[in-house]
């Protein structure tokens, strides 16, 4: 067994929080530069230039790209040969979120209960943690902070097999069309197909935390990603929703096994920063 301490996990998560919130992923920057060259709308090009300048300021001053530094979503893959010392894994992740959000001057946007008092927890915990046990003696962490402007615009459609590929396309277009300007386009769109209700949503979230310069390894789903991107960009929403050809940088699709009678489709929309950061301990 390899020992990994509570403090190591905490400090890694804290550093990831600051990195994810202040540094735009390189593939997103590349997509944004390309879009600024190709965008037909002059207002759209101005918006993209502002966003590039903003990313530059955020990275050089280590300040958040966006004030909404989101709920902290953590995807963890924990090797079965790891022994965590000094405390519980989830406590270490939450301690890291509290440390990163406090020391990094990131906004605390988490309320402890949704309906009555909505009291802010003041350290952005609890994180939303998805843990998977895997082979090996390492811990892999992917932190994807998610703001509400984009998270509020996602959706789930419980389709049936007869709806097929066309039904999936209609569902995605419908959800993105209704989202309009609110998720801060150009968006990165995560689509989860299959599973059941909760697994489709989880797939969609994983998809929107995937880099924009990747495709699904299954060529049929990779082709669907490109077809969906073309359809979405045909909506005309454009940068900041002010009209234009770049409504999304990328549509990422993930799929999983499902029931003979099910075709769930979940769409999770990410904003133009598509924030995420990754570390291996």
């Amino acid at each position: 067994m390899r020992e990994i301490s509570f403090e190591t996990i905490r400090d890694t998560v804290a550093a990831l929080a600051i990195e994810a919130c202040c540094r735009m992923p390189e593939p997103v920057l590349a997509a944004m530069r390309k879009a600024r060259e190709e965008e037909p709308s002059p207002t759209g090009r101005d918006v993209l230039a502002q966003l590039l300048k903003n990313a530059d300021i955020a990275a050089s001053e280590t300040c958040p790209i966006c004030q909404d530094t989101g709920l902290a979503v953590v995807f963890a893959e924990v090797g079965q040969e790891v022994h965590i010392t000094g405390g519980l894994f989830e406590d270490a992740v939450n301690a890291g979120i509290a440390k990163g959000y406090t020391e990094g001057y990131l906004r605390k946007s988490s309320v402890e209960e949704p309906l009555f008092e909505r009291r802010n927890t003041r350290d952005n915990t609890p994180a939303i943690i998805h843990t998977k046990l895997v082979a090996g003696d390492r811990i892999e962490l992917r932190l994807a902070p998610k703001g509400a402007g984009s998270e509020n615009k996602g959706g789930l459609r419980m389709l049936v097999p007869a709806d097929g590929i066309e039904g999936v396309k209609r569902a995605v277009l419908d959800i993105v069309s209704h989202a309009g300007a609110s998720p801060c386009p150009p968006m990165v769109i995560g689509v989860g197909i299959g599973g059941n209700m909760e697994l489709a949503c989880l797939c969609a979230k994983r998809a929107c935390a995937r880099d924009v310069d990747t495709h699904n390894p299954d060529p049929r789903y990779a082709k669907l990603e490109d077809e969906l991107l073309e359809l979405v960009n045909g909506l005309g929403i454009g940068p900041a929703g002010l009209g234009g050809g770049t409504t999304a940088f990328k549509v990422n699709v993930e799929f999983c096994a499902t029931h003979i009678a099910c075709l769930p489709v979940a769409v999770n929309i990410n904003c133009n920063a598509a924030r995420h950061a990754h570390a291996v301990i």
Partner: protein, 184 residues
């Protein structure tokens, strides 16, 4: 498309010149308020109590800033989704508020109220929060500090960059812009 340099409070004459798609740079005092502060303002009005500031001719910026680092006036401070304030906006526009700065589409009730009351809705670029913060020189909480980033605050701004997305004649750039670039 024109570019305007505006000082708050805005006059009706200032607002009449603004057309959708125009760029504007705002200087002066702008008030910061979002979900929770709007709920408190409505409660104050219901109870017959004064609002934290006189909103006549003024602008409300829908924002919940990140904390300021030592030496900064404010942390990153981009616009939040305006639609969440749709339930409250018409009442404030009727009381003389000149307009709002935010991002995203508004309800029909808000668009009607903007037109009927001769107001304006500006968009700041969603996600350009570090860039926008540079035009905010001072941030002073005026009410409800316990709301943290949702407190009601006065901001002193210089050349704060916005685009007119709804004008007093009923123009809607979100709708027009999208129509212009939609395919099929």
């Amino acid at each position: 498309m024109q570019t305007h340099h505006l000082n708050t409070p805005l006059s009706k004459d200032d607002i009449r010149k603004l057309k959708i798609g125009d760029a504007a740079y705002i200087s002066g005092t702008v008030y910061a308020a979002r979900d929770a502060a709007h709920k408190r303002m409505m409660e104050a009005l219901d109870a017959g109590e004064p609002l934290p500031a006189d909103l006549a001719g003024q602008l409300i910026y829908y924002v919940g800033p990140a904390p300021a680092k030592p030496g900064q006036a404010i942390g990153s401070a981009g616009p939040t989704t305006a639609g969440r304030m749709d339930a409250y906006a018409p009442r404030l526009l009727e009381l003389g508020l000149a307009g709002m700065i935010g991002k995203g589409n508004r309800s029909k009730a808000v668009m009607d109220s903007i037109r009927q009351n001769g107001c304006v809705y500006f968009a700041a670029t969603g996600g350009a929060a570090a860039l926008i913060a540079r035009s905010i020189k001072k941030y002073t909480v005026l009410a409800w500090p316990e709301l943290g980033p949702e407190a009601f605050a006065a901001m002193e701004v210089e050349d704060f960059p916005v685009i007119v997305v709804a004008d007093c004649e009923g123009g809607d750039l979100y709708e027009e812009g999208r129509k212009q670039y939609a395919k099929g």
